[in-house]
Amino acid sequence: MKELTIISGKGGTGKTSVTASFATLASSRIVVDADVDAANLFLTLEHDTIASSHFKGGSKAEVQADKCSQCGDCRDRCQFDAISEDFIIDSISCEGCGVCAWFCPEKAITFERKVCGEKFISDTPWGPMIHARLGIAEENSGLLVSQLRQEARQMAKEKKIPLIITDGPPGIGCPVIAAVTNADALLIVTEPTLSGLHDMERVKGLADQMKIPTMVCINKADLNPEMTRRIQQFATENNIRFVGEIPFDRGVIDAMKAGQSLVQFSHGPASRAVVQIWEQVQQFFSSTPERIM
């Protein structure tokens, strides 16, 4: 079994459109949406949700007003300014450390794990999809991503599915680290802009720290041919396998509006490019060592 994670650094470069296309092209795969706080893959892959479960993140502290003596110990100890002068804990500021509850002399603070999202297993015509919805303004997205990938690995083992494709979040922080850790290869989807190049350099730094083989493709490559050249050059100089360019094509947005993957919806220039990139990705992937399960 092998795992491919698709990332970008910069947001909105086309990760999900590429992932959805790969997910309809692959012969046997599980697809995971690891962009849990702005999940979009379910909008573009036709699916039936067959199972859902609660995601419990960290705990949150709450003051029970009837037991509270207003001594102020919790306010002195809280490093996150989460407790107001009238002893109400702001759930958004609360970091979930439990220090207030631990020390409260009146035992007036409850500290319990909270449901902060939902996890889903869905069937698509092309194989299983594992996805989630993080609650509004909730945290622990990294933990949720780790759990989704763990479930995918378990399922891959049981059903003998050889490939997991993961749609990663933008950025380089907590949920990205959770989405790329122990992946067999990464595909960076970037765009020919100074921002795209800058962000890709940082995400490549993360890939290097984790020693994960990395590929890159450039979306909307014809919008700035000079930047496209610079990105290709960066790839060559930094041991990144360049796997192709996708031209700007309204078909990408039309596919999204139709609720279909690009390769399913259109046979236009962008769709043909993605099919070719998929061939290149498979070739590169077959050269990385097989993991022992």
Partner: protein
């Protein structure tokens, strides 16, 4: 006034709106704060000079094993698995630590001292037209961006006009950037992905009680999905920026739309005028984010 530019979905044009708005405001008290510390980009467009940088770190525990009795209280209080006893040895995992100081408070032997973990840096500089930019840069490999975002925001002077460029998403980093703003300007893309993530951000802003307006970027000719959503939610659309290949090309090389496209300059001037009026009204009626 603190105006935060956010979106939910990445790549809708938050930074484009932030930097062009900053460049079109004809005042000398405009400051920009790039809180997308994982992937900051505003400096690519603003191009500040004389940059000063400060490292930002957080407290993590350091154990004095001479004093430690291996009682296990610190391991028990830590919710983040950042401190543990393995084979009669105490170990810390600084990258897991949330700096709550629980271990220090619970230790009866005074065996836990302060150490630091570097999160990244805060940079500041001013460009030739006087735009003052402060931005955070998360160290590659560091997972926790909210404490760095909070350090960037500490430097805001609310007396002038502060434009805050938020990170994508609706989780902790975006919330950290949006909280305590006077107004949130959401940059929406008229696509199903854009609408889905816009709606998530609007729900988060209701929780944060921050007044909200929308700008549509890469707008189609006819009113569409964002307009009907905004009407249903009672959220005002302050401006529509049409899709333009020329604009995309200018942004791709770090150029400013307000400098190179006169029609864009007019749209940004209109946007600022409306925005200033709305935020002033909100501040007067007390409808402000806390």
């Amino acid at each position: 006034m603190i105006i935060t530019i956010a979106s939910g979905k990445g790549g809708t044009g938050k930074t484009t709106v932030t930097v062009n708005l900053a460049a079109s405001i004809d005042r000398d008290d405009v400051t920009v704060f790039d809180c997308d510390v994982e992937e900051p980009n505003a400096h690519i467009f603003i191009r500040p000079d004389n940059i000063s940088s400060e490292p930002v770190s957080v407290m993590v525990p350091k154990i004095d094993s001479g004093l430690c009795t291996l009682c296990g209280a610190c391991e028990e209080i830590c919710q983040f698995s950042a401190i543990t006893i393995v084979a009669k040895k105490i170990m810390t995992f600084p990258e897991m630590c949330h700096s709550c100081r629980g271990c220090q408070m619970v230790c009866s032997e005074d065996a836990i001292q302060e150490d630091f973990r570097v999160l990244g840096a805060v940079h500041r500089g001013k460009n030739s037209r006087g735009i003052d930019l402060t931005w955070g840069e998360l160290r590659v490999g560091e997972a926790m961006s909210p404490p760095l975002i909070s350090q960037v925001k500490e430097r805001i002077n609310p007396l002038g006009i502060a434009l805050v460029d938020a990170p994508p998403g609706t989780s902790c980093p975006a919330i950290e950037a949006l909280r305590e703003s006077d107004y949130a300007l959401l940059v929406a893309e008229p696509t199903p992905f854009g609408l889905n993530d816009l709606a998530l951000t609007v729900e988060a802003l209701k929780k944060l009680k921050v007044p909200t307006g929308i700008v549509i970027n890469r707008a189609d000719d006819e009113p569409g999905i964002v307009e009907s959503y905004a009407a249903k939610q009672g959220i005002e659309i302050l401006q529509r920026f049409p899709f333009s290949r020329e604009a995309a090309s200018i942004c791709s090389r770090g150029g400013l739309l307000v400098d190179e496209m006169s029609e864009m300059k007019i749209l940004f001037d209109e946007l600022f005028e409306k925005l200033y009026q709305r935020v002033s009204e909100c501040k007067k009626t007390g409808e402000v984010g806390k």
